[in-house]
C-alpha cells in the first residue's frame, strides 16, 4: 500500500516537473498564453505574501507586478534547481521587502515589554496562561485567524516581518537571515522574540483564566 502510494506521489511529482519544463519552454519562446498561465497560477500566492509583508493592498499589488517583471527578465537565467512556484514566491518576497525598506524608515522597536519576565531565582514571575485547543467550528476558526493576523500587525515591523517570513512564508533560518541582512543566530532570536511577543498579545484571547495546575 505504502509503496503504491509512494510510486503514485513520485509519478505525480514527475508529471508536475514535466509540465513546468514545458511551460518554461513556452515562456522562453515568448508565448503570450504561457505568460497568462504563469501569472494566473501564481499571482494569488505572491500577492498574499506581499500583503502580509506590506499590510497595504495597493503596495502589495505594485510589489507583485515588480516581482513578475523581474521574473520575466530573469527567465533565461532560471536554472530549474527550485520549483517555479518557489522561485516566484522568493522574488515576490524580495520585491515586497524592497518596497517596505523604501518606505519612510521607521525606528526599529523592541518588544521587551511583551517578553516573559522572570524572578531573581529564574522562575516565571507570572504563571503562564494555559491556552484552550484550537476550535473546529469554521466561524470560530475564521475569527481566530483574523485575530492572530491583527495581533501580528501590532508587532513592530522588524519583528513582524521576521515572523511572517519564517512561520507563514516558510523561509528557513538561513534564507531568513539573508533576506533580513543579519546573522542566522540574530534571525533565529528575532523570530523567537516575535513569537513570544505574539503569544503575550494573544494570551488574553486564547488563555484560560487560571494558570497551570500542578499534577
Amino acid at each position: 500500500m505504502r509503496a503504491d502510494s509512494t510510486q503514485r506521489e513520485q509519478a505525480a511529482a514527475g508529471a508536475d516537473v514535466a509540465a513546468e519544463l514545458a511551460l518554461l519552454a513556452r515562456l522562453r519562446a515568448g508565448e503570450e498564453a504561457a505568460f497568462a498561465e504563469l501569472v494566473a497560477a501564481h499571482a494569488a500566492r505572491m500577492l498574499a505574501a506581499a500583503r502580509r509583508i506590506l499590510r497595504s493592498d495597493e503596495d502589495a499589488q505594485d510589489a507583485v507586478q515588480d516581482a513578475f517583471l523581474s521574473a520575466f527578465k530573469a527567465l533565461e537565467r532560471f536554472q530549474g534547481d527550485a520549483r517555479l512556484s518557489t522561485w516566484l514566491h522568493r522574488i515576490a518576497i524580495n520585491a515586497a521587502l524592497m518596497r517596505l525598506r523604501s518606505q519612510k524608515r521607521r525606528r526599529e522597536q523592541d518588544v521587551d515589554e511583551l517578553l516573559p519576565s522572570f524572578a531573581e531565582d529564574g522562575h516565571h514571575e507570572l504563571a503562564p496562561k494555559r491556552w484552550s485547543e484550537a476550535a473546529e467550528d469554521p466561524l470560530v476558526v475564521a475569527e481566530s485567524r483574523a485575530l492572530v493576523r491583527a495581533k501580528i500587525d501590532e508587532l513592530p515591523d522588524n519583528y513582524r516581518v521576521a515572523l511572517v517570513l519564517r512561520d507563514i512564508e516558510g523561509l528557513d533560518n538561513e534564507e531568513l537571515a539573508e533576506r533580513l541582512g543579519v546573522s542566522v543566530n540574530a534571525a533565529k532570536i528575532r523570530v523567537h522574540r516575535a513569537r513570544q511577543a505574539l503569544k503575550t498579545l494573544l494570551d488574553p484571547h486564547f488563555g484560560e483564566p487560571s494558570g497551570p495546575q500542578n499534577p
Binding site: K73, H123, E133, G207
Partner: protein
C-alpha cells in the same frame, strides 16, 4: 530516595513520565547527596528563564545532546514551563495556519502585469 532511584527519576522525567510529584523527593536527595548534585547539576540548576531560550531550537529540531535532555527533563518537571511551551507551540501553529488562507488575485492586477510585460518586451 537513594542514588539509583534518583537517577531513575531523572530518566523518567527526561522521557516524559509525569513526575512533578517526585520533584520534591529528588530535590531533597540532591541536597543530601553531593555526588548526585554534582553529576546531575545541569538538570537541577537550569532555570525557567534559560529553558525559554531553547524553545526556538526545540521547534527547529536543532536541540540535541545533553541540552535536549535537560530541556525535556525541565519541561516535564515544571508545569509552568510546560504550559509556556504549549501556548508557544499553539502560537506557532496558529500563525502557520495563516499561510493557507489566500484570496484569488484580482483580474485587474493580472491584466496589468500582462500589459506591463508586453510593454517590456516591445
Amino acid at each position: 530516595m537513594n542514588c539509583v532511584q534518583f537517577e531513575s527519576a531523572i530518566e523518567a522525567l527526561r522521557s516524559g513520565a509525569p513526575g512533578a510529584a517526585i520533584c520534591d523527593q529528588f530535590r531533597a536527595h540532591a541536597r543530601s547527596c553531593p555526588s548526585c548534585a554534582t553529576r546531575f547539576a545541569p538538570y537541577l540548576k537550569t532555570k525557567c528563564s534559560e529553558i525559554t531560550d531553547f524553545l526556538a531550537d526545540y521547534f527547529d529540531g536543532s536541540l540535541h545532546g545533553e541540552t535536549r535532555q535537560v530541556f525535556d527533563f525541565h519541561i516535564n518537571a515544571c508545569p509552568e514551563c510546560r504550559c509556556y511551551l504549549d501556548s508557544y507551540a499553539l502560537t506557532v501553529r496558529r500563525t502557520r495556519e495563516l499561510s493557507v488562507a489566500s484570496e484569488p488575485a484580482p483580474q485587474r492586477l493580472i491584466d496589468a502585469i500582462l500589459a506591463a510585460r508586453r510593454a517590456q518586451s516591445n
